[in-house]
Symmetry: C2
Subunit: 363 residues, 2 copies
Amino acid sequence: MSGQPAGLGSVLVVGTGLIGTSVALALRGHGVTVMIADQDPGAVRLARELGAGEEWAPGGARVDLAVIAVPPQFVAQWLLDLQKTEAARFYTDVASVKALPIAQAAQLGCDMTTYVAGHPLAGRERSGPAAARADVFLGRSWAYCPGPETSGGAVAAVLSLIDLCGGNAVQVDPVVHDEAVALVSHAPHVAASAMAARLAGASETALGLAGPGVRDVTRVAGGDPGMWTAILSGNARPVAEILEAVADDLSTVAAALRAVSVDGAAIGRVTDLLTRGNAGQSRIPGKHGGPPRAYAVVQVLVGDRPGELARLFQVAKDAGVNIEDVRLEHTPGLPLGAADLYVQPEAAEVLAEALRAHGWHVP
Amino acid sequence: MSGQPAGLGSVLVVGTGLIGTSVALALRGHGVTVMIADQDPGAVRLARELGAGEEWAPGGARVDLAVIAVPPQFVAQWLLDLQKTEAARFYTDVASVKALPIAQAAQLGCDMTTYVAGHPLAGRERSGPAAARADVFLGRSWAYCPGPETSGGAVAAVLSLIDLCGGNAVQVDPVVHDEAVALVSHAPHVAASAMAARLAGASETALGLAGPGVRDVTRVAGGDPGMWTAILSGNARPVAEILEAVADDLSTVAAALRAVSVDGAAIGRVTDLLTRGNAGQSRIPGKHGGPPRAYAVVQVLVGDRPGELARLFQVAKDAGVNIEDVRLEHTPGLPLGAADLYVQPEAAEVLAEALRAHGWHVP
């Protein structure tokens, strides 16, 4: 994170879906003046009622930063249109792919000095403004991709945005970004969907025997098909390459299983994939994976009230503790849940003490 | 569950892995005399030190029930050997596939009147006796497959076992069982492994952008490759069929993504899979899926101490409430976690009151 989030007095958020509205709510929580726009008047109205800001009127006063929160294919055109009217001093976007909007923006002749592409690694299975929360970015990575022409002012504005939203800024090359998210987000989404699709015709008996395993494997398949189609088509080649490799492995295992009764050695190909799966799974940072980064976990009980988690992060910040990742275990409809806060080991006790001192229940 | 768990004074558990040792611990908690056996003397010693029971001496007194907790391929031979020496009045197993051991037992000439095949739908990413817990079966389905020759006494013995372990007995045909678990457990395991295998060579940048989504998709890929190879080869055809269908879908999506830049209509095939994934995911019962069974959730804070969850289930039982499913959100190394208890809606308040009356913290 940067130091002082200075210089963001006013922000325009274009696109009041889940991410756009969440950005607006987070900024409003810090007193930023937020204007909102969406091609769907109902979405703007709902976001406004949620406290996300006031409806934007084109041609009004120039804002400090415009956050373009539309599907990846439409980012560049919005950037061009906004720059034509000098709607903002600086511009960023939050699309899940980065090479495509950057290339399109250059092609359209956008001013690349005032634009920094960005991507907060946050999301929920739900979508739309009603699912927005100011705290979805807390402790999550937020990739940003300055180009050779990007001005220092534009970078500072985006870092301020990330800081105000509570994200962890990660600078990355756009092509590297797209290959990375293909691997850790886009292809896993399709794999989960392909497995979940098999359950569409499952018997009640089979569903009755379903446990936490299949629930976890398929959870992300609940995401919005239209939104994910746009993401996948915007990152087509990297995702296709991974899916081809996954399909190959599954076909190999299927063939080995078919051959097992006549060729005992075939089973070695099954063990091989499972062993490679072990190796890959253990590299994922966080709760269920191994510790490529050995974080300590501080668990704290939090209420399901707006702003509660934000207050918690403020306590952490005031104590000088950086929260690297967060995992929430809220049950819908219940007022209390557990938050697992991932911090550097030496910071765990500092954080626990600070939280207790502010009345939080840290078991 | 059956009524009184009568008639199980002594039980032999063959195989002190995770499931065998967990069964032994659960039975010991109810005062059952438990004998344990394993081909690995170290595993027996460890299970014994964990309080799972005393080492079995072949030729000793006949027990009421023998629980054969070995890989599916070895169940029938163990059954035959135990029956030859009249080691037990009744026999069951806990293997993840059911048609194979039943067919092999019949082929070997086992006495099919005293044997009921069984399968508790429980497991953890870890394996071995050290990972065993008396409470892994609480609220989980436990499939059992009586055949045409099975005696009433044998069925009663297995129902008593399931009851003592806190599971929910589900009678099912063995072939139906195997196709069901291929769909909701075995194929998802391979799909998770195939996705996780892609991460084995992932860059640090990619791993740094990993979030809860990919973590969930690949979590089960952490399971023991040897154990899972045995399970998959014992259920080869049903698993192969599903994997072939999943691989086909992934290949179709990959081809559509490759074609997207020249054939706009190709993207429809991506949306189609995502939409089918939505439909399948929504059918999974429980926390992250839709409600084919609309359970209510009672959340309670539990300590990470042996027997704590068992005491909780006893309170539920005394209050006349059946817990349909349970999901634990423990963080390793921390003393407190949240348990989500799934009950019929009309039982939720009864359970919450009963738990509070016994000193549990129900938010």
